[in-house]
Symmetry: C2
Subunit: 244 residues, 2 copies
């Protein structure tokens, strides 16, 4: 069976968490919106009354007759089919729990540049974004990153992966978080790197997996840009160190 992934063609966005899982699994899939007329087909499908379980928004995945929406829900579906999650219930609940905390983190990352309204331009909420991003870097990012670093350090099976001794889809998503934050807030991330050694090591470990490395080097990986979740506005990052 060939999966069909429906997501916006020009950004990594939330679709990227699904792309990374499909790539690591070596699954056969089409990134529908990135082929001719694909984005129009996606929008049509979203509004179609023929879809029994209509998703709220992209990403969604077609798997045979199933149409599955919500990133963490898609990953939870793919996990057991492709060995990207433990086989026991406790391990699956834990992986899903981590993924939902990553989803909360992603929402807060997006809010840094759009604290007033996703429908307005960044330029129309720049002042509010500066306040929001400052609080994010001071309070929220350390809370989330500190948590995930602790999850690694307390993993009874070692600190190489978030869940047990094997890669799960939560690790792939955590890789994306570290890559994205390093793109968006390079100064803040460089400054705090020593607090998150295990997370940065996890990022490197995932990046070097053969299928992920091949994916990242391919045209299938859309570069980061200022349309997605992770945006690089230097004025939202911490200040440059004073030269002496």
């Amino acid at each position: 069976m060939r999966y069909e992934l429906y997501y916006w063609a020009s950004i990594q966005g939330r679709g990227e968490f699904v792309r990374l899982a499909l790539e690591e699994a070596g699954a056969s899939y089409v990134d529908v919106a990135r082929v001719a007329d694909g984005e129009a087909r996606m929008v049509a499908l979203l509004g179609s009354v023929a879809v029994r379980y209509p998703p709220f928004a992209p990403p969604f995945l077609k798997a045979g007759r199933l149409v599955i929406g919500q990133t963490a829900n898609i990953l939870q579906f793919l996990g057991p089919r492709h060995g990207l999650v433990p086989q026991d219930q406790a391990g699956q609940l834990w992986t899903n729990e981590l993924q939902l905390t990553i989803a909360d983190f992603v929402a807060e990352i997006h809010e840094t540049h759009h604290p007033v309204a996703a429908s307005l331009y960044y330029e129309d909420q720049k002042k509010e974004a500066r306040r929001r991003a400052a609080d994010f870097l001071k309070n929220r990012a350390p809370k989330f990153l500190g948590y995930f670093e602790r999850v690694l350090s307390r993993n009874a099976r070692g600190d190489r992966y978030l869940v047990g001794a094997k890669l799960s889809y939560a690790d792939l998503s955590m890789f994306q978080i570290m890559a994205g934050l390093s793109y968006a807030f390079p100064r803040a991330m460089a400054r705090s790197a020593r607090h998150y050694r295990r997370l940065f090591a996890l990022h490197g470990r995932v990046q070097e997996r053969p299928r992920i490395a091949a994916y990242l080097a391919s045209a299938r990986r859309i570069p980061f840009n200022n349309e997605g979740i992770f945006r690089h506005y230097p004025e939202l990052d911490v200040a440059e160190p004073q030269s002496s």
Copy 2:
């Protein structure tokens, strides 16, 4: 087995979605933080290295030896055990998908009064909150509510419940959304009621279920207040109609 629910003692918050499921199930549970020393025990447990899978934040549920965090994850665990979700995979995926969209909605509702930082007082972000709430009522609430109204109207088994012909935990959560929005934004909700007839009917249907009615009338139901997700700040609601 007696469940232990861990959540803040003075607010409905995200814990309420779990409370409603436990109450409808007639499950045996302790709302730990609401008994003596409970909140201190909760905070201790959150920081304890003895917990194998440490949650990021409340709510979390202890079920025997399992400690399960993240609202949608807890509900997904409880669903099949208490007949609050269909038995087939497609129905369970769909219920989880709806619950995750409800979670996204809840996050945006919270942002209306805290668009700059959850750590700051409302009074310190009042101006930003007015902009955010205005966009929420104009664009975001209609998008989410319109979606859920459509889910009801397109349900092949009738428009009484979100999933199939029986109550699921997503319906209980949707009840809470309608109750909470009506508390927070009474004018906007009254004005738009005719667009969401099925959602208001669902709210009434859930409210009259014997166990839910008994719960709502009991001291176990914490009243809405201005510390939780749904807060009533009249200045964030739509303006009063002009008298003529």
